[in-house]
Symmetry: C2
Subunit: 314 residues, 2 copies
C-alpha cells in the first residue's frame, strides 16, 4: 500500500524529528560521490507563464530513490493561489515499488534548505553567537532563526527587509515564537552587530560589502541559487578564510561562488564541499577570528534525505 502523506501530517512529523542529522549524512554521501543525480527535467509554459521542474536521484546502495516535482506559476496571486506547488515521491530502490506520496506543496524543500543553513552554522559559526543577522523577512528569513536553535543558543535576531509593513508582521510573528527581534532597512545595522549572518533574499545585487564584514563573522548565503542572483559582494568570498559550498559542481555554475569566479575574486580551488567539511575537522572553523562563508544552492540529495526522514519517522 502506498502511504499518502498530506501537508498537515508532514508538519506534524517534522515536529517530532530532527532532519539535520539525516541531511548531514546526505551531504557526506554526496561529497563521497555516492549520489546519482540525473539532469533536471523541465517544462516551461507561456500563458500564463509557469514552469515545472522534476528533480530526482538516489544514493547508491541506499533503500530508496526520490522524485521531486516543483511548479512555479508566478501570476497565481491574481487568482488567490500560491505560486508554488509540488510533491515528493519515495520509491524502494530494491523493488521499484512506490512507497509514499508526500503532498508537501513545496514545504519539505523549505525545510531541507533551512536544515542546510543550520548545518552550515553548526560547523562554521563562531563559538558564541552574539546575535543572528537575517537578510529577508520571507519564508527562509523566518525558518533560519528557528532551525538555527537546533545547533546553537541565540534568541537575539535582527532582520533586514525592504518593506516596512512586512517587517512589522515578521517582528510580531517571531516575537510570539520567543525571539528578541529587531528589524532594519540598513544592512550596516546587521554587519556591525552580528557575528552570524544568513542571507535569504532573491536579490540580484550585493546587499553587503567586504569593508562591512568584521573579523569572526560567519555568513551563510542561502538565497542565490541561479547564475543571476547575488546577495554578497564577491570580495567577501575573496577575503573569507574559508569558503564552503554545498556542491562544487553546481556552485561553478550558480550562486555566490559562481559570481566570485566570474568576477575573478576566487579560484575554484578555494571551494570546499560541505560534505567534506563535515567529516574533516581541519576544514571547519579553527578560531573565533576567522571570516567564513557557506554558499548554499540546494542539492537533490537533500530532497532524498528529507523524504526518507518523513517516511522513516516512527
Amino acid at each position: 500500500m502506498v502511504k499518502i502523506v498530506n501537508l498537515e501530517e508532514i508538519k506534524n512529523i517534522l515536529q517530532m524529528i530532527n532532519p539535520i542529522e539525516i541531511i548531514e549524512e546526505g551531504f557526506i554521501a554526496y561529497s563521497k560521490g555516492k549520489v546519482t543525480v540525473p539532469p533536471v527535467g523541465e517544462m516551461v509554459f507561456d500563458d500564463p507563464p509557469g514552469e515545472c521542474h522534476i528533480k530526482y536521484g538516489f544514493i547508491k546502495d541506499d533503500d530508496y530513490f526520490v522524485i521531486k516535482v516543483a511548479t512555479g506559476f508566478y501570476e497565481n496571486h491574481k487568482i488567490n493561489l500560491p505560486a508554488f506547488d509540488g510533491l515528493m515521491l519515495l520509491f524502494s530502490q530494491k523493488t521499484g515499488q512506490l512507497l509514499s506520496v508526500l503532498l508537501d506543496n513545496g514545504h519539505l524543500t523549505n525545510i531541507r534548505t533551512a536544515s542546510a543553513g543550520a548545518i552550515a552554522a553548526k560547523y562554521m559559526a563562531p563559538k558564541n553567537v552574539r546575535r543572528i543577522g537575517v537578510f529577508g523577512a520571507g519564508t527562509h528569513g523566518r525558518l533560519q532563526p528557528i532551525y538555527l536553535q537546533k545547533v546553537l543558543n541565540c534568541k537575539d535576531i535582527i532582520t533586514w527587509g525592504i518593506n516596512q509593513e512586512e517587517l512589522e508582521v515578521y517582528k510580531k510573528d517571531m516575537k510570539e515564537l520567543g525571539f528578541n527581534v529587531q528589524t532594519t532597512q540598513e544592512p550596516e545595522d546587521i554587519t556591525s552587530t552580528c557575528n552570524l549572518i544568513v542571507t535569504c533574499t532573491p536579490s540580484k545585487e550585493p546587499l553587503i560589502f567586504v569593508d562591512q564584514i568584521k573579523e569572526g563573522t560567519h555568513i551563510t548565503a542561502l538565497g542565490s541559487d541561479t547564475p543571476e542572483k547575488q546577495e554578497i559582494d564577491s570580495a567577501i568570498l575573496k577575503k573569507a578564510d574559508r569558503l564552503i559550498v554545498d556542491s562544487v559542481e553546481q556552485c561553478l555554475l550558480r550562486g555566490e561562488s559562481f559570481k566570485a569566479l566570474q568576477n575573478k575574486m576566487i579560484k575554484k580551488e578555494k571551494m570546499i564541499e560541505l560534505g567534506d567539511m563535515i567529516i574533516n575537522k581541519d576544514l571547519q572553523r579553527q578560531t573565533d577570528d576567522e571570516i567564513t562563508v557557506v554558499d548554499l544552492t540546494g542539492v537533490a540529495v537533500q530532497d532524498i534525505q528529507i523524504s526518507k526522514a518523513i517516511w522513516e519517522a516512527p
Copy 2:
C-alpha cells in the same frame, strides 16, 4: 485538494468511459506538432537490477500537463511482487497545481496501449474481420480482443503462445469473457485464417514472414518498442500497401519500422503518422485487398490523454 485515485477506482472509471476518442484526439494533436514531450528521465539500478523512467509532456494550450513514472524490477517475482509499478500525476497547465495522483500501478499505460490498438483497427482493418489473430497470451494479448470490440464486431480469436499452460489459462479466461477462442503454437494457423492480426510479444526475432501474409490482412504490431525487439519480418513492411506509425520521430529509432529501415526494406517516406491518417481518409485503408501495417511504440501524448480521461470522468 489533490484527488488521489487508486487502482480499483481507476478500473471502475475505465468501465464507464471510452478512452479511444480522447486518445485519438491526442494522436491528432501530436501529428499537428502541438505536443511538447521533453526527453525521458531515467534511473538505472544494479543490485537488484531495475529501472525507472519518467515521461512527461503536454499539449500546447491544453488545461493539463502529465508526469508518468514507471519502474521495472525484473527480479521482483522472486519475492512475489509484480515487476512493474508506477503512477501518473496530473497538473493544471494554468496554475501548476497538482490536481490528481493516479495510483494505477502501470494499468493506464496498458489501457492507453490497448486503445491505440483499437484505433489502428478502427481505420485500417478490413470491413469484415473474420477472425482476430493474436500473438502473445500476456496482458496485451488479453486486452486487445477486448478493446477491439469497441471498434468492430468479432468474437472469434486465435492466439499464439510459446507456453501451453499459459495458453490454457488464457483460453479459459477469454471464454469467460464471451470469446470463441482457439490457441496455437503455429504462427501459420493465424496467418492462414485471420485478416486482423495483433502482435503483442517481447520477441526479438520475427514471428511471421511475408509469404504467409494474405491479401486483405491488417497487422497491428504492438510489442516492439525498443531498437532490439521485432515481431514481424521487415519484408512485410515493404510489401504493405500502407504503413502507419504512431510517431515518425520515434519509429525512426525503435520498433518494426526502425528494423525495416535498418534492413533497407523501406524508406522513411513510407511512414505515415497515425494522427495524420485519422484526419485524412485518403491515408486510411481504401479496399479490402490491401495489406496494411500499424507500428505502435507508445507516445507520451497517450499518457496525457488517458490521465485526462480519468480526471474528467463524471
